[in-house]
Amino acid sequence: MTTDWWQRLHDAGPASTSDIADFATEIRRTTLVTINRAGLGHIGGDFSVTDILATLYGRVLRVDPTQPDWSDRDRFILSKGHAAVSLYSTLALSGFFPMDWLGTFTGPLSALNGHPNRNKVPGVETNTGPLGHGFPVALGCALAAELQGSERRSYVVIGDGELQEGSNWEAFMYGGHRKLSNLTAIVDRNRLQQGDRTENTNSLDPLDAKVEAFGWEARVINGHDLDALYSALTTPSDRPVAVIAETTKGKGVSFIEDRAEWHHKVPSAEQVELALQELGS
């Protein structure tokens, strides 16, 4: 059984940009309610990555919620695992698991931990949470696809602050060396990390020049422009592609946007009401 959302986005032909926009809004609303109910979550990073997730699951990834272990599925890894609720919301709305699981988020013995677990959550490829882990695993997935002669692709979302972990640059180096054109790394470039702005902490700019120097094709786009996202995620290349998605942390709710303190602050009931009004339906 697939969900209404999955049917709307996939079964009636390719999804339109407005379909994806509606899906993203529903992911944000679900994320907001889930975090408020649990009293825990990383809403800022959840909202910066939401349009990326909506585009991937709405019209890019070749996956099947009814067969999450289908061997030739595209691989998607959320390396910034602290944005788990946005991923859980996306997966539940897509039908990978029932929506009512979201109500158990962080509760005793819930499948939905604060960070994703592949052995408990259908659709999760590897356990993330500590930063700098997802990219090498996605690289391994891409190497396997090449070895096995499969057309499947690998995608990984990395936080920009996360790029301060050296393991990512080991992966950039080897991915570029192997010219893995079946691998796309998406950087959620919201310019904030837990404690401060990335550029005040350990600057990343010029990020496009850095990844190009490692043999990747850099595509710098507005990470909330759904058409630009779709194009950047689907246009082929003869190299691995790094989509540097310029995003706004907390995107969609005015009092959450671009504020470091909303990294993992939990909205009050009043703030949830205000936020839902701003998001619309």
């Binding site: 997935c141 396997a144 070895l147 393991s167 992966a171």
Partner: protein, 313 residues
């Protein structure tokens, strides 16, 4: 007659090649360690199935987890100090916690890099890996055990850590069938007065120590613990009960190592007097042979510890 001595990396590589010939899921991942892991022939035979990520251990383990995600069986082959030290968090999160089917092969463990010093010694690897939930630790003691352990690893579904020595060792598996049985300790010598528990390089030394003890009318049992985790509790508890004295001899730190594992088990079951021999400080400069003797891991050193323990020292 001089016994045949084997660098276990050689039978490891032969067995991996044999496996790869019949099972296309078997691949190798390494960190510029093609020669130190003895994988040159594997690379010649299966160039597409050798992933040399360069000197980058974190990426190496993560890549292996990704390969396993596609149903492949990656054998990550790297010097044990760098595999287990540099990539500990990848082993924890990407392999153990994710339950990824990755075989971690720590080459040249213990003090086998001798004069290169403590940066290159891997004496902490067992303690680090033993702390992880659900990661079996296998430490073959000779060629026959190495070959069978590789076969076991390929068939076992889940992550595992194999410790493959470069310091040459004699066979300790004569009369043992099978030479290696996952989770089962081999009683390689029977005895009633004291038990020497050993693994890997120290097994042949424990057997030689038992000979020395026999000259003094001490009957020593010797256990070859080739599966360090999970420990064969039945065999160790029976040995404590039967002999009343336990000496552990290992080429690694006792804290969290095999000595720690045995002590944890017996403290809750059959507490008996014990002596834990291991490489318990950063080593001074010296050859492997010198260092093993320095840390009391020669036949004479092990025998002396046993004699002292049974009140004859």
């Amino acid at each position: 007659m001089t016994p045949v001595l084997t660098d276990c990396r050689v039978p490891f590589a032969h067995e991996l090649i044999d496996l790869a010939r019949t099972d296309e899921r078997v691949v190798a991942v390494c960190n510029d360690s093609v020669s130190s892991s003895n994988l040159g022939e594997f690379r010649s035979l299966f160039p597409d199935r050798m992933f040399n990520v360069g000197i980058a251990e974190q990426n190496m383990v993560g890549v292996a987890a990704g390969l396993a995600n596609a149903g492949l069986i990656p054998f990550v082959c790297a010097a044990s100090p760098f595999l287990t030290g540099r990539a500990t968090e990848q082993i924890k999160a990407d392999v153990a916690y994710s339950r990824a089917n990755v075989k971690l092969v720590g080459m040249s463990p213990g003090v086998s890099y001798g004069e290169l010093g403590p940066t290159h010694h891997s004496i902490e690897d067992i303690a680090w890996m033993r702390a992880l939930d659900g990661l079996p630790i296998v430490s073959p003691a000779d060629e026959a055990q190495t070959r069978q352990a590789v076969r076991w690893a390929a068939e076992y579904h889940g992550g595992a850590f194999l410790r493959i020595g470069r310091f040459k060792v004699p066979s300790v598996s004569e009369g043992q069938s099978p030479a290696f049985h996952f989770g089962i300790a081999n009683t390689v010598r029977h005895g009633d007065d004291v038990t020497i528990i050993a693994s890997g390089v120290t097994v042949s030394r424990a057997l030689a120590a038992a000979e020395l003890l026999a000259d003094q009318a001490i009957s020593a049992r010797v256990l070859n613990i080739s599966t360090i985790c999970p420990l064969d509790a039945d065999t160790v508890i029976a040995a404590a009960r039967d002999t009343g004295h336990i000496v552990v001899a290992e080429e690694s730190v006792s804290r969290g190592g095999l000595g720690g594992a045995v002590a944890e088990l017996l403290a809750e079951s059959v507490p008996v007097p014990m002596r834990l021999l291991g490489v318990n400080t950063f080593a001074p400069t010296g050859s492997v042979e010198f260092l093993l003797e320095h840390f009391g891991l020669s036949p004479e050193g092990i025998a002396a510890a046993a004699l002292e323990l049974v009140g004859r020292g």
